[in-house]
Symmetry: C2
Subunit: 876 residues, 2 copies
């Protein structure tokens, strides 16, 4: 262990990789290697970070020794001395994780300064103002970053000094002014820290390195990591680099540059420059930077070198770069380069342009675009400048992106009525249930008080591409009173709110929207993605409109048509309820016969919408009690309609109560008990397919999917029921018709016995929502109560309902695909759970050997690109 290396000089570490050096460290090593002017320095590795945490948040002595040795090397290379009486070496200390986490962790500049070195530097530079400026900056950052003390007080001290001196800008202050500030800062440090500001540069350095490691675990870093799926275990590296000074006077300065526009992707340099300043001044926005033209006019040679180098860097890295640079006494240094963040629109243009310029190939172009970003191109959104003016009143989970404004409505029926009357409404519920569907369709957006990212409201809204926020706990919804309360303020049905489904924020009143812009590059990139992906892309759609939308977005079939939503339509729910409450097969069949023509028409329209592409219809899945009314007045109405006693009806509804409905009488279990429901649905599917074949003049591939099986026996039973019904209808029709019977794989046991199941199945479709629930043993609805504690204790770093748990649930998926395909060579394998639209999950499904993913219509473009990414990565 003692021989293991934890510290690497930039000049020696080219090719060691981001995992060890962090992104910034690896970049600095590479730039050094390529010959770009970089101030020398070294990287304390990510392994040292993990060692720090595993050693009780202490730097072990051998790491300390290595760091101090690395400083000695730096002294030799620069001819400067750390804390020395001559030519003092000053350092910057910056964090650098494997992937860029801008603004999440901490930076310290000008480290190495103390009264002695400051004095030496004044002598050597003859620029006391510059030295004082460095010194005061250093004390400020050290106090704030290393000691965790508020910088507000210190900023205020600066402001007051400026006011007292009548200085408008920092640069208007004199050396004396700044030296006074240094002394004030030191006094403040003594007061709040309880000891004098450290004189020894080695102490300063080790404390600074420790502070950066510590910042890996600060709150904003943890939130950022969770949001961007960055594992805690990666740790951060620390980069220690020789300071160069942009604040040495008018021939010095600092700047940032994007090699192309991060907003539009346009191919022109987007850069800003600030003379006589250090980097933080640009970032902090204390002074307004100048256009890069200033540099070209005033220091043309430097500008030329700058322009040539950044062009070289873009070619070298094959991507638009975000660059920091400093000019010290007319000499140009680069401090950092990285791939620049960009809008989705810019990403598309940059990728296409770089491809056309011949800088990158198709695969590289595709990898430059973040699949998740594409959804922003499909949705309307609030005007950013308007958003800045308003304060949200509450925050929930961003369940389905988009922007919506409307009047409040607390009841689904009322939502439908007011929508029909031309009002724009936001449906607000404690939580939604399938009974609310019509209201959800009618509403502009949906807001719930309870529920998680995979709650009913969230799933359905995403399917519709409708803006939705769930689990907004701060909102007290009173559905009976038709009001909601936030803090002390009560909102009722005539109040207007705006909800941002992309951020989860809720606002009072109306906010101006901007309409989505779609450029030609979007279609071009999608075609490129199709060329490179292996996975098929289908959609989860229940209604013809959804299906058409998804087809327009490039879906190659329907992977999941949920039939239960159809049962709620006004023209059939009564028959559904009558059927459920029957106590004999004959009555049930009568009710089912009344539903059959409606159900058949549902499927007919869907087959037409998909125009011959495969359509997978799932047999009825939810427990029957979900179709029954729970509210008193609805029960009374139903009793009247059924000509039965209210008390009796209540007893029958009560008898259907389940302790754990998720694990109750649902899915295939309904067919085992009531094969007549399966017969009705099969008849509807087959008749619809036969009619659609005639109408389209194309053959239809109907896939009938059995939900919730735990083994082969159930599938065998249901297949026999389906086959008997279907074959008879096909024979009677005189047409030929292909149909296939397959199954959801959503119960652990079915995955464990996939070899047996595959012998009965034409296809598998993983229901990763239920599979995740049963593998983890928690229900998604109930888990919202304790998952925050799991994230906080870092037991879970990700929401397993958003991104598939590869380690656990993934084992079942991999095993089922492998065993299933081995047992049945023709087996088609897909996934229709929520994970089907998640890029990281798609990468896993590609690796696991699935044939297709199915996702909500608005995720189809995301899935197409993500599938291409997966194929390209797995080819490597």
């Amino acid at each position: 262990m003692a021989n293991k290396k934890y510290v690497y000089q930039f000049k020696d570490s080219h090719g060691l990789g981001k995992e060890l050096l962090g992104g910034k460290g690896a970049g600095l090593a590479e730039m050094t290697y390529v010959g770009i002017p970089i101030p020398p320095g070294f990287t304390v590795s990510t392994e040292a970070c993990n060692l720090y945490y595993n050693s009780g948040k202490k730097l072990p002595k051998h790491v300390v020794d290595e760091i101090l040795h690395a400083v000695e090397v730096l002294e030799k290379d620069t001819g400067k001395t750390f804390g020395g009486k001559k030519n003092p070496l000053l350092l910057s200390v910056r964090s650098g994780a494997r992937v860029s986490m801008p603004g999440m962790m901490d930076t310290i500049l000008n480290l190495g300064l103390n009264d002695d070195t400051a004095k030496t530097m004044v002598e050597e530079t003859n620029n006391p103002r510059f030295v004082a400026d460095c010194y005061r900056r250093f004390i400020l950052m050290y106090t704030n970053v290393v000691k965790g003390k508020s910088r507000e007080v210190m900023d205020k001290m600066l402001d007051e000094l400026k006011k007292a001196k009548g200085a408008k800008l920092d640069t208007d202050l004199t050396a004396e002014d700044l030296n006074k500030l240094v002394e004030d800062y030191k006094a403040y440090y003594l007061k709040v820290v309880g000891e004098p500001f450290p004189h020894d540069p080695k102490v300063q350095l080790l404390e600074a390195v420790t502070a950066v490691f510590r910042s890996w675990d600060n709150e904003r870093a943890n939130i950022y990591r969770k949001m961007h799926h960055i594992p805690y275990e990666w740790g951060t590296a620390v980069n220690v680099q020789t300071m160069v000074f942009g604040n040495k006077g008018e021939t010095s300065g600092t700047g940032v540059a994007f090699t192309r526009s991060p907003a539009t992707g346009d191919n022109h340099v987007f850069a800003e420059y600030l003379p006589n300043a250090q980097g933080e001044d640009v970032v902090a926005g204390t002074r307004t930077p100048l256009h890069i033209d200033w540099l070209e006019e005033n220091m043309p040679a430097v500008y030329k070198q700058f322009a040539e180098t950044i062009d070289k860097m873009e070619h070298y890295y094959k991507d638009m770069q975000d660059i920091e640079f400093t000019v010290e006494d007319g000499v140009l240094y680069f401090l950092q380069t990285r791939s620049g963040k960009r809008t989705a629109q810019a990403a598309l243009k940059i990728a296409c342009d770089l491809l056309d310029e011949g800088t990158i190939n198709e695969e590289e172009a595709l990898l430059l675009i973040d699949p998740s970003s594409l959804t922003t191109l499909l949705l309307s959104s609030f005007d950013d400048s308007e958003l800045k003016k308003v304060t949200p009143i509450a925050e929930g989970l961003p369940a389905s992106p988009g922007a919506a404004t409307g009047k409040l409505v607390f009841d689904a029926d009322e939502a439908a009525k007011r929508h029909a009357a031309g009002e724009t409404v936001i449906l607000v519920r404690q939580e939604t249930s399938p009974e609310d569907l019509a209201g959800m369709v009618a509403a502009e957006g949906i807001l719930t008080m309870r529920g998680g990212m995979t709650s009913h409201a969230a799933v359905v809204a995403r399917g519709m591409g409708k803006c939705c926020i769930v689990g907004a706990n701060a909102i007290q919804v009173d559905e009976k009173a038709h009001t909601m309360k936030v803090g002390n303020k009560t909102y009722s049905t005539n109040d207007v709110i705006s909800i941002n489904g992309s951020t989860g924020l809720v606002y009072e009143g109306e906010i101006k929207k901007v309409e989505p812009q779609m450029t030609g590059n979007f279609g071009r990139v999608m075609k490129l993605a199709d060329k490179h992906r292996r996975l098929g892309i289908r959609t989860n759609a229940d209604a013809p409109a959804e299906a058409k939308q998804a087809k327009a977005f490039g879906a190659e079939g329907i992977g999941l048509c949920r039939t239960e939503h159809m049962f709620f339509d006004a023209d059939r729910i009564f028959h559904v309820r009558k059927m459920i409450l029957s106590d004999n097969v004959k009555d049930r069949e009568d009710s089912l016969n009344a539903i059959l023509p409606h159900q058949e028409n549902d499927f007919y329209e869907l087959f037409l919408a998909m125009d011959g592409l495969p359509v997978t219809v799932r047999l009825l899945d939810p427990p029957l009690h979900e179709f029954l009314p729970q509210e008193e007045h609805l029960i009374v109405d139903l009793a009247k309609a059924l000509k039965t006693d209210v008390k009796d009806l209540k007893a029958r509804i009560n008898a259907l109560h389940e302790f754990n409905p998720m694990m109750g009488h649902r899915g295939v279990r309904l067919t085992i008990t009531y094969p007549e429901i399966c017969r009705m649905q099969t008849s509807a599917i087959i008749n619809a397919a036969l009619r659609a074949q005639k109408k389209l003049g194309k053959s239809i591939d109907a896939e009938i999917m059995v939900p919730l099986i735990f083994g082969a026996e159930e599938l065998r039973f249901v297949k026999a029921v389906i086959k008997e019904t279907a074959d008879k209808l096909i024979k009677e029709s005189g047409q030929k018709l292909e149909y296939h019977v397959g199954t959801m794989m959503e119960i652990p046991r079915a995955c464990l016995l996939a070899d047996e199941v595959a012998k009965e199945a034409a296809f598998f479709s993983f229901g990763t929502n239920d599979l995740t629930q049963m593998s983890f043993g928690f229900s998604r609805d109930d888990a919202t109560k304790f998952l925050p504690d799991y994230y906080e204790t870092r037991i879970l770093q990700q929401d397993p309902f958003a991104t598939i748990d590869q380690k656990g649930v993934g084992q079942l998926v991999r095993k089922a695909v492998k065993d299933g395909k081995a047992a049945n060579k023709k087996l088609l394998v897909g996934i229709c759970g929520e994970h089907g639209g998640d890029p990281r999950s798609i990468e896993f499904f590609d690796a696991a050997g699935l044939d297709y993913v199915s996702c909500s219509p608005f995720r189809v473009p995301v899935a197409r690109l993500a599938a291409a990414h997966a194929a390209i990565k797995h080819k490597k």
Copy 2:
């Protein structure tokens, strides 16, 4: 395929095994081989049965050919001719599955008779009455068994004939009478079947064989199989055997014999004999058989041969035999021998006696006793003769065996009160919840309207060894009115019922009981079992009385102490509720501190009761809302006690509502959210262990078990909480104390990642109840609604909550044991689910490499013997 053999002569098939020949066929082959006088015959194999079912319930031609060929061999061997004009060959056709299924399937005797062969036989035997008797029997059995027509009508025809002729017994009828009956039967056959009675003996034979195969799938066979865990796939064989005739006159007869008493096990032959009769007369009870002494007195030579042969047979088979024999004209034939059914008491005595006699060794002795039968030795039961006089009013599931009589009580509190007042009560509830615990303790027996074999009532009652019936659907319980209704009759709190937990039957009024008898053989067999088993045996016990009981039954430790029951005691439930309803850590800790001394005392008493044996305490498991009152008046009381508003309290209770409580905020998830609960329980366990160590002067091994983890991370978190608390207390005490932290394995994902979990765990204990629920995706409470449909459609052949599903759930268990032990050599692995007391599951757990099983106290003797069985079988 055509070359495969499906038919085997007895004389050629010794050693081919029960799997192929069925138990009876294998026995006949073996008896033939040993030289016991057996009428020759052949077996149509179990494979032929499966072939029959796989060929659309038809006998393929090649099997038909084989059967007819076998008959030819028989003709040669006996010198008789099938359907022949001389010396006609008559046959018996009997079913014979791999294990004996007495009375479940069908038998046909005297096959081969028709008008011609009957005439020949009359000429040859000069015994027209005998032939007519055979013929009428044959037509009756054929019409009933092969054609499925009621035998009632035909029995009535016989009775009427006897009445008309003034005959008391069948044997009083003359040849003419019987020939008249033959003609009447043939006419009846023509009428109900629609064709004449078949003349061709070959047709008779093939139809009879088919009928036996068909009977494998009849309702009573299906029920029997489910009850005795016999797979449907085994199929039955058919034995076709030359008839010998006990009904040829007074020197003929038929009998049954047990080589020892099946009731007590006493070593004397228990046999009955009926002169001039065929076997069915004994079984049917139409005539009362004579004591075997009759044979000794009247046919001493035959008796001597009989006595010697059955002794030889017992020695040969090394077990008490159940034998059928026939004497034809003074010649003795044996028709069947098999191990005899016996009571548990007899089983113990027979095994010990055979061991002492030197007939069998210890392992063989142990295997002679059915582990499950032992429970009957530990419980009181109703007097069998009394039971025969009464009719049950309802039937439920036999959740926990035993017999109980008492007055009805519908409320737990009332049960406790009336019990305290000296009344004997039966607690009747729609279903029970943890709040009913005190009432369950007080009641003599428990009866619920809902729930399955693993419902709360069932599990708790079995733990207590208390008689319990659950899911008695026919009983309408009105808890508010304090009545129950069965059909039109209403019972109230002063009515007495009796419940039989061994059969699930409910009776009105009191029934006399017999007290359990325990003989010395019981203890002896238990010691033998201990000598031969590999698995350790622990018990699931929460209270000192249970623990002592289990220890007396031989438990070697506590494998599961559920702590939640303790939270319901009167002296702490208020604090528990206060704790749950607190909204801050400080208040929760205050309430927990009030509970701590009680909880500590619980564990202290338990440690003392176990006297140094290991005790595994599971941390709090159920969701917190289970501890809160749901009924209005209790909520009002609680609000008063908490000095809070009723409405507010209801809202807080409501906020704890869960959609799927089984998959909600429970188990380890409670510790993640409220580490203070874990700290309290750890303190209680460690303090109790320290005190108990002092008191006993022995070291205590406390095992702390974390429930419901889905991976290693949760266990790591909780272990840290436990360790911090425990180590501090141990250090303060100045004592040494061993404690271990382990985990329940009850969530699929934890099993899939057992290697990681094992690195954090000192032990695994499989919670196969939850593991079964989550692997199958159904909750045990809700599954009671649809599992009957699963049994009926034969999708499930067994209740997976009673016997572990080896194929699915078993995969997870095997993987977890293998991966766990590979990752941690010291890992101790047990099981504490309901399956821990099930012999077939225990055999699986032994094979899977577990270290111990833990079961309810009254199952401990069962488990000890079952573990010995498992070890002996796996050694083979």
